[in-house]
Assembly symmetry: C3
Homo-oligomer: 299 residues x 3
Amino acid sequence: MKHILTSDQFSREELLEIFEEARKLQEAAELPQIMKGKILATVFLEPSTRTRLSFETAMLRLGGQVISIPNAENSSLNKGETVEDTGRMIDIFADIIAIRVPKRGQVEEFSRQVTKPVVNAGDGTGDHPTQILLDLYTIWKNRGTLDGLTMGLMGDCAHSRVLRGMARMSSVFEMNYVFISPVELRMEEDVKRLLAERGRGVRETISLAEVIGELDVLDVNRIRHEYFEDQERAQEIGKQFILTKEMVLKGRQQLIVLDPLPRINTVLPEIDELPQAKYFEAVENGVFVRMALMKRMLD
Amino acid sequence: MKHILTSDQFSREELLEIFEEARKLQEAAELPQIMKGKILATVFLEPSTRTRLSFETAMLRLGGQVISIPNAENSSLNKGETVEDTGRMIDIFADIIAIRVPKRGQVEEFSRQVTKPVVNAGDGTGDHPTQILLDLYTIWKNRGTLDGLTMGLMGDCAHSRVLRGMARMSSVFEMNYVFISPVELRMEEDVKRLLAERGRGVRETISLAEVIGELDVLDVNRIRHEYFEDQERAQEIGKQFILTKEMVLKGRQQLIVLDPLPRINTVLPEIDELPQAKYFEAVENGVFVRMALMKRMLD
Amino acid sequence: MKHILTSDQFSREELLEIFEEARKLQEAAELPQIMKGKILATVFLEPSTRTRLSFETAMLRLGGQVISIPNAENSSLNKGETVEDTGRMIDIFADIIAIRVPKRGQVEEFSRQVTKPVVNAGDGTGDHPTQILLDLYTIWKNRGTLDGLTMGLMGDCAHSRVLRGMARMSSVFEMNYVFISPVELRMEEDVKRLLAERGRGVRETISLAEVIGELDVLDVNRIRHEYFEDQERAQEIGKQFILTKEMVLKGRQQLIVLDPLPRINTVLPEIDELPQAKYFEAVENGVFVRMALMKRMLD
């Protein structure tokens, strides 16, 4: 576990260890200053305030320091430097690196020349393992277990790195899955194959209403208009996949609603006050999950 | 005093307490490391180097740490997130928040969902209370009192958040006011009404020369061309409202000249060497005023 | 040595003291926290990730803190503030300042109103003394001496601040020089005059192949197309001045290859694995050279 590149690199035991560690940190009266003398580099060649600040907060609260490339404009990549050379440079300055890039696979490229631990903080349609980790931790923390739960993954199952990654990471537990997506954006075969191999129950539907009563978790992700040729169809689909309070109230009382945020035509603000809404709690949990992960990577 | 949103939320006693605290910090042989373990978020959805770095310096010198959104481009607001959701996110990461936004009222919107103390670091034509605080502190520090002084507010009295805010904040003291502005940009009624209610003397003029001899303080603010339809008129007015050394020397010896900076057709560099020029001293004072304010907010 | 503005302001003794200090820091089991309570401002009105993060890493690892203007867009210069006023502002916030600007001479302008130590981190075609320092330190560290060595400076000798600065800084030692450049981009007279005054051997050529066997050091710098009227000629020249593995292997075994990076048509990646390639080692050395320099400036 030198680098954290994908959502399916974790075993069941590793996930539970990370979750236990995150909870220990979250419950600590005072945070241990275990990162003293350490430097985190946040390299965001595509900007993401939430993820960048979450990593930085985690590092600073454990006593460490931060250097940052908050966007690509200021980077030497803009002058024509390769991702590998940028990696070699950051490797010299930092003790641990969180990097976001616009294209799938670029974090892997970056990590190839790097001796320090690298965390993939999002690589296009590729993956975003710490987002999945913090969502999964949020479910585990609320329910005490992950085995036996049924998880709805709603939105663009074809392209969303978060929905795809969630299916892959969580399936080391005995979960069941419902993919809720428009027919154009169904979950791809690679993920379905993995779930089948692991013996997980899978169902697909275009209608949340049909399955809402069966779900323990509903992870919602935006549908991007750019994936549709027919913009009228995109509009119509977009409306169908907005989550309303009415719908949430049709679900189980223990339902956990997640959204990686920012919410763009996903969960309506009217849901925020419901106990089912866990997306802001997940942001808070994320700081501790990232603390636990960085601690593990630097041990 | 949970959030600092406007210039008129301070009582006379509160202002004097903040000024005393700022002076104590400024005179300390060593700064107390009272912010250890605390994180300030500087959220500048409109960039302002001076204000951002002043807050950050204040926090770092008291032993705290900083996370930052230095401009809107890198923020999730750019992806369509609401100001309220950005607030909820920052609330989770930081212990105290300094925020600048392009539009009046947006800091108030932002603060609505935030449990941590928020400082308005400028909201369009709205307000900028810490700029006023540091200018007022500079006068208090130099003169030992604010009661009895006559303050000239020169420039765009109609739109300048600094001139408007200065009148409102300072009028809890027994000051007199002279508004020096082109007829198009006269101080609005709300401010005049407040001053009248508080029994403060008010005079209006278009000519600084006429009143320069009566002033203890002259606070100068730029006139923006975009508020004029007639650009020739704007040019002419602009020239009239530049402050020269000759004019300053016509005033009292104790005159205090202030300018929020950057100076754009306001105070000429030839004034810098005069003892009357206090705008750079005010920048230095500002770091200690912000320390005192943040200390108070986190107590 | 209040400000570090140019490459030729250092005596032989000063350079050796800085190098000894850098080596001491580099070999220390634990870095001394000598910058505790100090703030470095990195003011990059032209972005440069490598140089900015190197300075910041140096400061943080010695226990200090950092405030930053990572690009001009976010600076008040963009609103029309002069470089001098920006200097006055940063002077108030920071204890030491590293600044990059787009135009030659602007760092000198900036430093004029500044009481704190300023380091020129690149001013257009002007200078970049810390880059030269770190390259020279890398040679000294590898060879144990600088006297008697022959240094090839290859690329745009006319405009490159790094090639020009290297000749000027290093010539306090008894070195010999070979300028390898296209005829359009020959080293200018001022540098040649200085080397002549100091009695250093100088040779000029357009062909690296001709001289590769004589070199102890080869410092390579990119040739910018924008300096050529004839773009076909620019292309052709560009190709001739790319450094290949084949060429490096024709040189001495002890040859040290340097490049300020990012590499744009300079050293090919195929060289990276050769022991002659010292450009990544130089990035690492640079952190310690900047530590040593800042220590000296703040002593």
